[in-house]
């Protein structure tokens, strides 16, 4: 069975980086795929990878990670700056982040506006 857990941004909004990462990794290590509203900050993405490496063991082999994020290329400069400042302070709610255990999610393909999650289980599996 493929288990997906949705995490709305408000659930991580007031958490510090370490707690955000721990929350995601806890779900993933429980063999569920996280669908997070919005995205982590760049340093949090790097920290998620670093922490994942620390936790790899006999059972946990790592994660597959992908972010789908709409880029507003046509926005006015002022609006882009405003969005950047808000994102820096409050976090980026736009788009989605998918994090799955590598044992379940074999690959995430991005196109870049479409995401395909390729799992290692067939539809007939329990």
């Amino acid at each position: 069975m493929l288990a997906l857990q949705f995490i709305p941004f408000r659930e991580i909004e007031y958490l510090n980086s370490a707690k955000r990462i721990n929350m995601i990794l806890k779900v993933v290590k429980d063999e569920r795929i996280v669908l997070l509203e919005g995205r982590l900050k760049p340093h949090e993405e790097a920290e998620l990878i670093r922490k994942t490496m620390e936790e790899i063991d006999e059972r946990f082999r790592g994660i597959e990670l992908s972010v789908i994020h709409p880029e507003n290329k046509d926005d006015l400069l002022f609006r882009r700056i405003k969005t950047s400042v808000i994102n820096a302070i409050l976090g980026d709610r736009k788009g989605f982040t998918i994090v799955g255990p590598a044992s379940v999610v074999k690959e995430i393909k991005k196109d870049p506006d479409k995401i395909q999650v390729l799992t290692g289980i067939s539809l007939g599996d329990d």
């Binding site: 900050k41 760049p42 340093h43 993405e45 790097a46 920290e47 990878i49 670093r50 994942t52 490496m53 620390e54 790899i56 082999r61 790592g62 994660i63 597959e64 990670l65 992908s66 972010v67 590598a102 995430i108 393909k109 991005k110 196109d111 870049p112």
Partner: protein, 210 residues
């Protein structure tokens, strides 16, 4: 007004590098992109010696290797780099992948453990580089999250970056896909293995830090 700002920041930027004795040049990217092949190529071109071993099996480089005082010369000027070859950054390491490639289980487990350590070291080292060449395999999907995370972290740290689209000697290489994925960045197509377009890469590097 905009030009005045640009000039100010360029002067500030150039001043920073002028004061630095050796510029710390990091080679970053996912495993098997050709970072060590490129490090070897640069080091051979300017020092006449290699940095590390290369292999088709991922995670051949599991420790950071530094080649100091690599002096690159261009049009009568020179820049001195400390060339830092980092282990490939990845989100997963499975020792069974190495077993499938013919390694003994003990050897595979050791390699996997060292590979995870290497990724951790690469990420930590991001805070200790001045400029970066991100080495991407031009035959692979450019939208890999590792590529995006590396670029995002370099941008957030305001580290000047150049993308080396490696393996252009292969038919499957698609530089346009990389340009479309990273339109804000200077991308140079190279073949580190055969030394193709290295002059362009050195010129772009010089442009970035002169």
């Amino acid at each position: 007004m905009a030009n005045a700002f640009k000039d100010f920041f360029m002067r500030l930027f150039n001043g920073l590098f002028a004061r630095k004795k050796n510029i710390r040049l990091g080679l970053y990217g996912p495993p098997n992109g050709g970072k060590t092949t490129l490090a070897n190529r640069i080091s051979m071109d300017w020092l006449g010696e290699e940095v590390g071993a290369v292999s088709d099996i991922a995670h051949e480089t599991r420790e950071i290797a530094v080649k100091e005082k690599v002096i690159i010369r261009r049009n009568g000027r020179s820049l001195t780099f400390n060339l830092i070859d980092t282990p490939g950054i990845t989100t997963k390491v499975d020792y069974e992948d190495f077993v499938r490639l013919g390694m003994r289980e003990n050897e595979a487990r050791t390699r996997a453990k060292q590979a995870t350590r290497g990724v951790i070291d690469s990420i930590k080292r991001l805070d200790e580089v001045d400029v970066v060449i991100v080495v991407m395999d031009a035959t692979q999907d450019p939208y890999s999250q590792v590529n995006i995370t590396i670029m995002g972290n370099l941008e957030a740290r305001k580290i000047p970056v150049l993308i080396a689209a490696n393996k252009i000697d292969l038919k499957k290489a698609n530089i346009k896909a990389l340009q479309s994925a990273f339109p804000k960045y200077k991308i140079i197509g190279i073949s580190a293995k055969y030394g193709k377009n290295m002059e362009d890469l050195y010129s772009a590097l010089f442009e970035m830090v002169k």
